[in-house]
Symmetry: C2
Subunit: 272 residues, 2 copies
Amino acid sequence: VSSVGVFDSGVGGLTVVRALLEQVPNESILYLGDTARVPYGNKSAATVTRYAENAARFLLGRGVKMLLIACNTASAYAVDALGASVAVPVLGAVEPGARAAVRASTTGRIGVLGTLGTVRSGAYLRAIDRAAAELGRSVRIAARPSPLLVPLVEEGWLEGEVPELAARRYLDELHAEAPDLDVLVLGCTHYPLLRPLLQRLADERWGRPVTLVDSAATMVAETDELLGARGLRAAPGAIGELRCALTDEARVDEVGERFLGRTLGAIERVDL
Amino acid sequence: VSSVGVFDSGVGGLTVVRALLEQVPNESILYLGDTARVPYGNKSAATVTRYAENAARFLLGRGVKMLLIACNTASAYAVDALGASVAVPVLGAVEPGARAAVRASTTGRIGVLGTLGTVRSGAYLRAIDRAAAELGRSVRIAARPSPLLVPLVEEGWLEGEVPELAARRYLDELHAEAPDLDVLVLGCTHYPLLRPLLQRLADERWGRPVTLVDSAATMVAETDELLGARGLRAAPGAIGELRCALTDEARVDEVGERFLGRTLGAIERVDL
């Protein structure tokens, strides 16, 4: 049985796996986390693209029927190149997040928080423009790198003064630029773990409910559609299995399970 | 002319280069920063050791006459193995820091802040015990991982509420365990950039002056001694040159020069 391959720089992509397990439980999943080289967010386009190619080669070597790039930074830099060069369908995190954001916005003003690489690449800007054009909408976006949110999540500081002050600082800057936004994209697989905090602070800052969008749910819906369109869906009665491959096993128990919401089971250590 | 090879996981080791340029200006330096795989602090002993071996092979291939491991995590996990396997003298960051700490302490109670890996390895505990035995002193140590300090430095947040609250939280936990300490080791090459903040908070928390120790000055003094003892010193009239090799060039202008205190000049990108 062929699996859906999910790739992330680390364990943050397990938020996408969690959504897959809930929404397409009969699909088997092979998750690859490049934990020996995490994070990608501050690294160059050339390096991140090379790492994404390493990961794709590994997953294709294991016979996956589809490739999901859960990492926003890797998606931002490498999804087009990978989509053009591999034989299976490739889905990144940026396009689904962009489509979800455009659909959710009433004011047409959309904010994006992401890593330095994701924001610098301009990928969300282009993807949101494309999604708006497809939907016949007019939008403007404001993007702010918020690199400290990743280490805060990894440290497990999800509430309290330090994450609150850091998040407030990023949101203040976004508010100054876009006081009229009504949708905020969580453009990194780590950020959904800060959702309760970010929701509270964003509502407070903008003085009205802000819709937070992350890519996971939309990625999973689009995965299901793509598998259906290509005739690649698992048999309806199949019971999906989750297998994990990591390039480094340190801290998986502590950090990985926070993202997945359950134990990870057997992990294979691999070199890319 | 043969160089002194300095290795770090990223650009933090440039604090050591800065001390070398000041204290042994006639030595040439080849700096290698593994910026494509930074940080090492949360990664496993096996992965960090492999990376340190990659780096040593690269620097030895370039003919360095000595190897300085500026990264505390790499020193903690790999300095013994490297010292036993390579033909040139090897000096890590942990032993010099430990010796400086023991010499500086009056109460015999020493605190250590470092990455998760550095603290978990127990390397400072062993090195401080050894240094104390050599100096005929009795000491006790308390160590606390403070992983958020690295991303704060990389983000350039060296003063202000966020770094202050994060540092205060780590220092509070150290104070609860060691209310009698008088020396605090900055056990990571990133932390010296937070020295003004950490000095102020530590003095305030312990209610008396706390001596902050980092490895850079002692490493440089011991480098000079080692070169002298092996007859490897540069000619007295030589003008040292600095060359830099990095595995990824992103953000070097912004971040690297913060550590070095001047421009880096030409950088060679290399693969390990």
